[in-house]
Amino acid sequence: MNTFLDVVIIFSLIVLSFSMLGMVYRMISGPTLHDKIVALDTLGIMLMAMIALVAISLNSAYLLVVVLLVGILAFIATIALAKYLEKGVIIENDRDSDD
């Protein structure tokens, strides 16, 4: 494989790891619960990029299935947590009531 691309991919993996460490810091020390949700969402999104880079460095296209799956799970988790913190329920049966 190309040596230049190898160096680029390893460098990007290191940079992405430090970004995810920053997210973990915000996820542990966030002042409110919403900060933690923001950090968790972004951690999931960065995990997608991480998996794509690992798939490149392993040179296998099978890992690319995981990318879309992790994205869908992170999105649903974000929406569910936000709705739970706002209203106390996730699936509203009576959408017109005010409580």
């Binding site: 190309n2 230049f4 691309l5 680029v8 991919i9 460098f11 990007s12 940079v15 992405l16 430090f18 970004s19 995810m20 920053g22 997210m23 810091y25 915000r26 409110t32 919403h34 900060d35 949700i37 923001v38 950090a39 969402d41 972004t42 999104i45 960065m46 997608m48 990029a49 794509a52 880079l53 798939a55 490149i56 040179n59 296209a61 690319l64 299935v65 990318v67 879309l68 994205g71 869908i72 999105f75 974000t78 929406i79 936000a82 709705k83 913190l85 706002e86």
Partner: protein, 133 residues
């Protein structure tokens, strides 16, 4: 082609790092959402486009799932950020103390202002002033 792939992957790593710095350094949740929603999403999209071009270049494989993931992030990142911001506002998370404009708070406390809008409100105010004078 190799330089294009390297450009996309390095740019993606750079924008993800900028997003992480923003999440650590910015003062409150509403500004942190800016960092994650714009910068980190662009970074991840660039990285995955790089992976898409890489597999196209080396194996001749056009991976539609990866392209679908890019479109999915592009659609859902603003949606998630909007939901979190609205949830934080309704859960009384305080904005940073230097915030000067809170449009959602203004619209929810004065519903009639929301209906007529800014320019019309100015016109109504002018007409009222003329009538008084």
């Amino acid at each position: 082609m190799t330089s294009l792939i390297a450009f996309f992957i390095l740019g993606g790593a750079f924008f993800s790092f900028v997003g992480a710095v923003g999440v650590i350094r910015l003062p409150d949740i509403y500004t942190r959402l800016q960092a994650t929603t714009k910068s980190a999403t662009l970074g991840v999209m660039m990285t995955m486009l790089g992976a898409f071009f890489y597999f196209w270049y080396t194996e001749g494989l056009i991976d539609t799932q990866l392209f679908l993931a890019v479109l999915f992030i592009f659609t859902t990142a603003p949606l998630g950020a909007h939901m979190i911001a609205r949830s934080a506002f309704h859960a009384d998370v305080e904005p940073y103390k230097l915030t000067i404009l809170n449009e959602l708070k203004r619209d929810e406390t004065n519903p009639e202002d929301q209906i007529i809008g800014d320019t019309q409100r100015v016109q109504v105010q002018r007409k009222k002033d003329e009538d008084e004078s």
